[in-house]
Symmetry: C2
Subunit: 138 residues, 2 copies
DNA sequence: CTCCGGACATCGAATCGTTCTAAGTTAGGC
DNA sequence: GCCTAACTTAGAACGATTCGATGTCCGGAG
Protein backbone atom coordinates (compact mmCIF):
# COMPACT_ATOMS: atom_id res chain seq x y z
CA UNK A 1 0.00 0.00 0.00
CA UNK A 2 1.04 3.61 -0.57
CA UNK A 3 2.57 5.52 2.32
CA UNK A 4 0.12 7.27 4.61
CA UNK A 5 1.16 10.72 3.48
CA UNK A 6 0.47 9.83 -0.14
CA UNK A 7 -2.94 8.32 0.59
CA UNK A 8 -3.90 11.42 2.50
CA UNK A 9 -2.93 13.75 -0.31
CA UNK A 10 -4.91 11.62 -2.76
CA UNK A 11 -7.97 11.99 -0.59
CA UNK A 12 -7.71 15.77 -0.88
CA UNK A 13 -6.82 16.12 2.79
CA UNK A 14 -5.13 19.43 3.49
CA UNK A 15 -1.59 18.38 4.27
CA UNK A 16 -0.21 21.08 6.54
CA UNK A 17 3.25 21.00 8.06
CA UNK A 18 1.82 19.77 11.38
CA UNK A 19 -0.25 17.03 9.83
CA UNK A 20 2.69 15.93 7.78
CA UNK A 21 5.03 15.41 10.71
CA UNK A 22 2.30 13.59 12.60
CA UNK A 23 1.61 11.27 9.67
CA UNK A 24 5.31 10.69 9.25
CA UNK A 25 5.67 9.76 12.91
CA UNK A 26 3.21 6.95 12.24
CA UNK A 27 4.96 5.25 9.35
CA UNK A 28 6.77 1.96 9.77
CA UNK A 29 6.16 -1.68 10.54
CA UNK A 30 4.94 -2.76 13.97
CA UNK A 31 4.27 0.84 14.92
CA UNK A 32 1.84 1.12 17.84
CA UNK A 33 2.52 4.48 19.41
CA UNK A 34 0.61 6.19 22.16
CA UNK A 35 -0.52 9.76 21.48
CA UNK A 36 2.22 11.16 23.63
CA UNK A 37 4.88 9.24 21.75
CA UNK A 38 3.51 10.58 18.49
CA UNK A 39 3.67 14.05 20.01
CA UNK A 40 7.34 13.58 20.94
CA UNK A 41 8.27 12.36 17.49
CA UNK A 42 6.32 15.09 15.77
CA UNK A 43 7.85 17.73 17.98
CA UNK A 44 11.34 16.50 17.18
CA UNK A 45 10.60 17.32 13.54
CA UNK A 46 8.59 20.50 14.12
CA UNK A 47 8.99 21.90 17.61
CA UNK A 48 5.95 24.18 17.59
CA UNK A 49 3.40 21.44 16.98
CA UNK A 50 0.89 21.26 19.82
CA UNK A 51 -0.46 18.35 21.77
CA UNK A 52 -4.03 19.29 20.79
CA UNK A 53 -3.17 19.07 17.11
CA UNK A 54 -1.71 15.62 17.64
CA UNK A 55 -4.90 14.42 19.30
CA UNK A 56 -7.11 16.11 16.71
CA UNK A 57 -5.16 14.65 13.83
CA UNK A 58 -5.00 11.15 15.25
CA UNK A 59 -8.75 11.17 15.83
CA UNK A 60 -9.38 12.34 12.30
CA UNK A 61 -7.14 9.67 10.85
CA UNK A 62 -8.97 7.04 12.87
CA UNK A 63 -12.33 8.37 11.66
CA UNK A 64 -11.03 8.27 8.08
CA UNK A 65 -9.98 4.66 8.53
CA UNK A 66 -6.29 5.42 7.98
CA UNK A 67 -5.30 4.40 11.50
CA UNK A 68 -6.60 1.85 13.95
CA UNK A 69 -7.09 2.82 17.55
CA UNK A 70 -6.14 0.11 20.00
CA UNK A 71 -6.97 0.27 23.67
CA UNK A 72 -4.01 -1.01 25.60
CA UNK A 73 -3.92 -2.40 29.13
CA UNK A 74 -1.95 0.56 30.50
CA UNK A 75 -4.84 2.89 29.76
CA UNK A 76 -3.27 4.77 26.85
CA UNK A 77 -4.67 4.31 23.38
CA UNK A 78 -2.28 3.17 20.65
CA UNK A 79 -2.44 4.15 17.00
CA UNK A 80 -1.70 1.57 14.33
CA UNK A 81 -0.96 2.53 10.72
CA UNK A 82 -1.43 -1.09 9.68
CA UNK A 83 -5.13 -1.09 8.85
CA UNK A 84 -5.02 -4.53 7.24
CA UNK A 85 -6.65 -7.33 9.17
CA UNK A 86 -4.11 -8.55 11.69
CA UNK A 87 -3.63 -9.53 15.29
CA UNK A 88 -1.16 -8.71 18.05
CA UNK A 89 1.48 -10.24 20.23
CA UNK A 90 1.94 -8.14 23.35
CA UNK A 91 4.49 -8.28 26.16
CA UNK A 92 2.66 -8.28 29.48
CA UNK A 93 5.62 -6.67 31.18
CA UNK A 94 6.85 -3.85 28.92
CA UNK A 95 3.84 -3.52 26.63
CA UNK A 96 5.80 -4.02 23.41
CA UNK A 97 3.42 -4.94 20.61
CA UNK A 98 4.05 -6.80 17.34
CA UNK A 99 1.77 -7.48 14.39
CA UNK A 100 1.07 -11.16 13.75
CA UNK A 101 -1.00 -13.28 11.41
CA UNK A 102 -3.14 -16.01 12.90
CA UNK A 103 -6.34 -17.71 11.84
CA UNK A 104 -9.44 -15.97 13.10
CA UNK A 105 -11.26 -18.10 15.62
CA UNK A 106 -14.95 -18.38 14.90
CA UNK A 107 -17.89 -18.04 17.16
CA UNK A 108 -20.29 -21.00 17.05
CA UNK A 109 -23.87 -20.05 16.17
CA UNK A 110 -25.23 -21.08 19.54
CA UNK A 111 -22.82 -18.61 21.21
CA UNK A 112 -23.92 -15.58 19.22
CA UNK A 113 -26.79 -14.54 21.50
CA UNK A 114 -28.50 -12.76 18.59
CA UNK A 115 -25.56 -10.40 18.03
CA UNK A 116 -24.50 -9.42 14.53
CA UNK A 117 -20.79 -10.22 14.52
CA UNK A 118 -18.57 -7.76 12.65
CA UNK A 119 -15.09 -9.00 13.32
CA UNK A 120 -12.70 -10.50 15.79
CA UNK A 121 -9.65 -9.18 17.59
CA UNK A 122 -7.00 -11.54 18.94
CA UNK A 123 -4.26 -10.65 21.39
CA UNK A 124 -1.53 -13.10 22.33
CA UNK A 125 -0.09 -12.23 25.74
CA UNK A 126 3.56 -13.05 26.20
CA UNK A 127 6.97 -12.13 27.53
CA UNK A 128 9.17 -10.51 24.94
CA UNK A 129 12.77 -11.78 24.68
CA UNK A 130 14.10 -8.83 26.70
CA UNK A 131 11.62 -9.29 29.51
CA UNK A 132 12.18 -13.05 29.72
CA UNK A 133 15.84 -12.31 30.26
CA UNK A 134 15.86 -9.33 32.60
CA UNK A 135 13.00 -10.25 34.91
CA UNK A 136 11.97 -13.87 34.66
CA UNK A 137 9.23 -13.14 37.15
CA UNK A 138 8.20 -9.80 38.77
CA UNK B 1 -17.50 -22.90 42.33
CA UNK B 2 -18.37 -21.37 45.67
CA UNK B 3 -19.68 -17.81 45.72
CA UNK B 4 -17.09 -15.06 45.85
CA UNK B 5 -17.99 -14.04 49.39
CA UNK B 6 -17.44 -17.59 50.63
CA UNK B 7 -14.09 -17.99 48.88
CA UNK B 8 -12.91 -14.74 50.40
CA UNK B 9 -13.83 -15.76 53.93
CA UNK B 10 -12.02 -19.06 53.45
CA UNK B 11 -8.89 -17.19 52.48
CA UNK B 12 -8.98 -15.34 55.80
CA UNK B 13 -9.72 -12.04 54.14
CA UNK B 14 -11.24 -9.57 56.58
CA UNK B 15 -14.79 -9.34 55.34
CA UNK B 16 -16.00 -5.88 56.32
CA UNK B 17 -19.42 -4.49 55.48
CA UNK B 18 -17.92 -2.45 52.63
CA UNK B 19 -16.05 -5.36 51.12
CA UNK B 20 -19.15 -7.50 51.38
CA UNK B 21 -21.37 -5.11 49.40
CA UNK B 22 -18.64 -4.66 46.80
CA UNK B 23 -18.19 -8.41 46.39
CA UNK B 24 -21.94 -8.86 46.19
CA UNK B 25 -22.18 -6.21 43.47
CA UNK B 26 -19.91 -8.42 41.38
CA UNK B 27 -21.89 -11.65 41.49
CA UNK B 28 -23.82 -12.92 38.50
CA UNK B 29 -23.35 -14.22 34.98
CA UNK B 30 -22.01 -11.96 32.25
CA UNK B 31 -21.14 -9.29 34.79
CA UNK B 32 -18.55 -6.82 33.46
CA UNK B 33 -18.99 -3.68 35.49
CA UNK B 34 -16.87 -0.58 35.46
CA UNK B 35 -15.59 0.64 38.83
CA UNK B 36 -18.16 3.38 38.90
CA UNK B 37 -21.00 0.96 38.32
CA UNK B 38 -19.72 -1.19 41.16
CA UNK B 39 -19.63 1.94 43.30
CA UNK B 40 -23.28 2.73 42.47
CA UNK B 41 -24.43 -0.77 43.30
CA UNK B 42 -22.43 -0.91 46.48
CA UNK B 43 -23.73 2.46 47.56
CA UNK B 44 -27.31 1.33 47.01
CA UNK B 45 -26.68 -1.34 49.63
CA UNK B 46 -24.48 0.71 51.96
CA UNK B 47 -24.69 4.45 51.28
CA UNK B 48 -21.55 5.49 53.15
CA UNK B 49 -19.16 3.33 51.14
CA UNK B 50 -16.49 5.44 49.46
CA UNK B 51 -15.17 5.45 45.96
CA UNK B 52 -11.63 4.84 47.24
CA UNK B 53 -12.70 1.65 48.97
CA UNK B 54 -14.30 0.41 45.78
CA UNK B 55 -11.09 0.97 43.84
CA UNK B 56 -8.93 -0.50 46.61
CA UNK B 57 -11.09 -3.56 46.93
CA UNK B 58 -11.37 -4.19 43.20
CA UNK B 59 -7.60 -3.96 42.84
CA UNK B 60 -7.07 -6.38 45.70
CA UNK B 61 -9.52 -8.87 44.26
CA UNK B 62 -7.73 -8.67 40.94
CA UNK B 63 -4.37 -9.23 42.66
CA UNK B 64 -5.85 -12.22 44.51
CA UNK B 65 -7.04 -13.68 41.23
CA UNK B 66 -10.71 -13.48 42.20
CA UNK B 67 -11.56 -10.96 39.47
CA UNK B 68 -10.27 -10.31 35.99
CA UNK B 69 -9.55 -6.77 34.91
CA UNK B 70 -10.53 -6.07 31.32
CA UNK B 71 -9.53 -2.92 29.50
CA UNK B 72 -12.45 -1.72 27.46
CA UNK B 73 -12.49 0.56 24.43
CA UNK B 74 -14.22 3.40 26.28
CA UNK B 75 -11.22 3.82 28.58
CA UNK B 76 -12.83 2.41 31.73
CA UNK B 77 -11.62 -0.90 33.13
CA UNK B 78 -14.20 -3.66 33.63
CA UNK B 79 -14.17 -6.24 36.39
CA UNK B 80 -15.16 -9.80 35.64
CA UNK B 81 -16.03 -12.32 38.37
CA UNK B 82 -15.78 -15.13 35.82
CA UNK B 83 -12.11 -16.05 36.16
CA UNK B 84 -12.44 -19.20 34.07
CA UNK B 85 -10.84 -19.11 30.65
CA UNK B 86 -13.34 -17.45 28.32
CA UNK B 87 -13.72 -14.88 25.60
CA UNK B 88 -16.02 -11.96 24.91
CA UNK B 89 -18.66 -10.75 22.53
CA UNK B 90 -18.86 -6.97 22.69
CA UNK B 91 -21.31 -4.50 21.17
CA UNK B 92 -19.36 -1.79 19.37
CA UNK B 93 -22.14 0.68 19.93
CA UNK B 94 -23.31 0.33 23.54
CA UNK B 95 -20.38 -1.63 24.94
CA UNK B 96 -22.49 -4.50 26.27
CA UNK B 97 -20.29 -7.54 26.89
CA UNK B 98 -21.15 -11.24 27.05
CA UNK B 99 -19.05 -14.25 27.95
CA UNK B 100 -18.55 -16.75 25.13
CA UNK B 101 -16.68 -19.98 24.52
CA UNK B 102 -14.64 -20.26 21.35
CA UNK B 103 -11.59 -22.24 20.38
CA UNK B 104 -8.34 -20.46 21.10
CA UNK B 105 -6.54 -19.56 17.91
CA UNK B 106 -2.92 -20.50 17.92
CA UNK B 107 0.10 -18.58 16.89
CA UNK B 108 2.31 -20.35 14.33
CA UNK B 109 5.91 -20.80 15.47
CA UNK B 110 7.29 -18.55 12.76
CA UNK B 111 5.11 -15.71 14.08
CA UNK B 112 6.33 -15.88 17.65
CA UNK B 113 9.30 -13.56 17.23
CA UNK B 114 11.03 -15.19 20.20
CA UNK B 115 8.25 -14.28 22.61
CA UNK B 116 7.15 -16.68 25.32
CA UNK B 117 3.40 -16.89 24.81
CA UNK B 118 1.30 -17.07 27.97
CA UNK B 119 -2.25 -16.94 26.71
CA UNK B 120 -4.66 -15.49 24.21
CA UNK B 121 -7.56 -13.10 24.49
CA UNK B 122 -10.30 -13.05 21.87
CA UNK B 123 -12.89 -10.32 21.41
CA UNK B 124 -15.72 -10.64 18.91
CA UNK B 125 -16.98 -7.21 17.89
CA UNK B 126 -20.66 -7.02 17.06
CA UNK B 127 -23.95 -5.17 17.23
CA UNK B 128 -26.15 -6.39 20.04
CA UNK B 129 -29.82 -7.04 19.19
CA UNK B 130 -30.91 -3.69 20.68
CA UNK B 131 -28.34 -1.73 18.74
CA UNK B 132 -29.08 -3.47 15.45
CA UNK B 133 -32.68 -2.38 15.86
CA UNK B 134 -32.40 1.17 17.16
CA UNK B 135 -29.52 2.43 15.08
CA UNK B 136 -28.75 0.29 12.06
CA UNK B 137 -25.88 2.63 11.27
CA UNK B 138 -24.57 5.65 13.24
C1' DC C 1 -3.28 41.16 -5.87
C1' DT C 2 -6.36 41.59 -2.09
C1' DC C 3 -9.97 40.21 0.63
C1' DC C 4 -12.83 36.86 2.77
C1' DG C 5 -14.54 32.65 4.88
C1' DG C 6 -13.64 28.49 6.49
C1' DA C 7 -10.39 25.20 7.86
C1' DC C 8 -6.64 24.62 10.85
C1' DA C 9 -3.55 25.15 14.96
C1' DT C 10 -2.66 26.67 19.52
C1' DC C 11 -2.95 27.30 24.55
C1' DG C 12 -4.85 26.38 28.62
C1' DA C 13 -8.77 25.03 31.20
C1' DA C 14 -11.81 21.30 31.98
C1' DT C 15 -13.11 16.55 32.35
C1' DC C 16 -12.72 11.70 33.21
C1' DG C 17 -11.09 7.59 35.38
C1' DT C 18 -7.99 6.33 38.75
C1' DT C 19 -4.51 6.63 42.51
C1' DC C 20 -2.56 8.79 46.44
C1' DT C 21 -2.42 10.96 51.06
C1' DA C 22 -3.46 12.08 55.54
C1' DA C 23 -6.42 11.40 58.99
C1' DG C 24 -10.08 8.94 61.35
C1' DT C 25 -12.39 4.33 62.52
C1' DT C 26 -12.76 -0.51 63.51
C1' DA C 27 -11.79 -5.29 64.58
C1' DG C 28 -9.99 -8.76 67.23
C1' DG C 29 -5.80 -10.91 69.70
C1' DC C 30 -4.17 -10.09 74.12
C1' DG D 1 -11.38 -3.30 77.70
C1' DC D 2 -6.78 -1.94 75.18
C1' DC D 3 -3.60 -1.63 71.53
C1' DT D 4 -2.25 -1.92 67.09
C1' DA D 5 -2.58 -3.05 62.51
C1' DA D 6 -5.83 -3.17 59.06
C1' DC D 7 -9.33 -0.74 57.07
C1' DT D 8 -12.10 3.29 55.38
C1' DT D 9 -12.73 7.99 54.28
C1' DA D 10 -12.84 12.66 51.73
C1' DG D 11 -10.61 15.07 48.92
C1' DA D 12 -6.32 16.33 46.50
C1' DA D 13 -3.44 14.86 42.85
C1' DC D 14 -2.62 12.59 38.68
C1' DG D 15 -2.21 11.28 33.69
C1' DA D 16 -4.67 10.89 29.46
C1' DT D 17 -7.78 13.09 26.65
C1' DT D 18 -11.20 16.58 25.18
C1' DC D 19 -13.07 21.11 24.89
C1' DG D 20 -13.46 26.16 24.04
C1' DA D 21 -11.78 30.45 22.87
C1' DT D 22 -8.78 32.74 20.09
C1' DG D 23 -5.54 33.42 16.48
C1' DT D 24 -3.46 32.03 11.96
C1' DC D 25 -3.30 30.35 7.41
C1' DC D 26 -4.81 29.22 2.76
C1' DG D 27 -7.12 29.24 -1.57
C1' DG D 28 -10.53 30.96 -4.47
C1' DA D 29 -13.72 35.09 -5.90
C1' DG D 30 -13.47 39.31 -7.57
MN1 LIG E 1 -0.79 -3.69 14.61
MN1 LIG F 1 -16.27 -12.24 31.02
ZN1 LIG G 1 8.78 -6.98 27.26
ZN1 LIG H 1 -25.47 -2.60 21.80
Amino acid sequence: MEPLVVRLRDRGWRLTAQRRVIAEAMTGEHTHLAADEVFERARAALPEVSRATVYNTLNQLVAMGELLEISHADGRKRYDPNVAEHHHLVCVRCGDMLDVEADDPDLPDHQQHGFEVLGVEVTFWAYCPDCVRTGANA
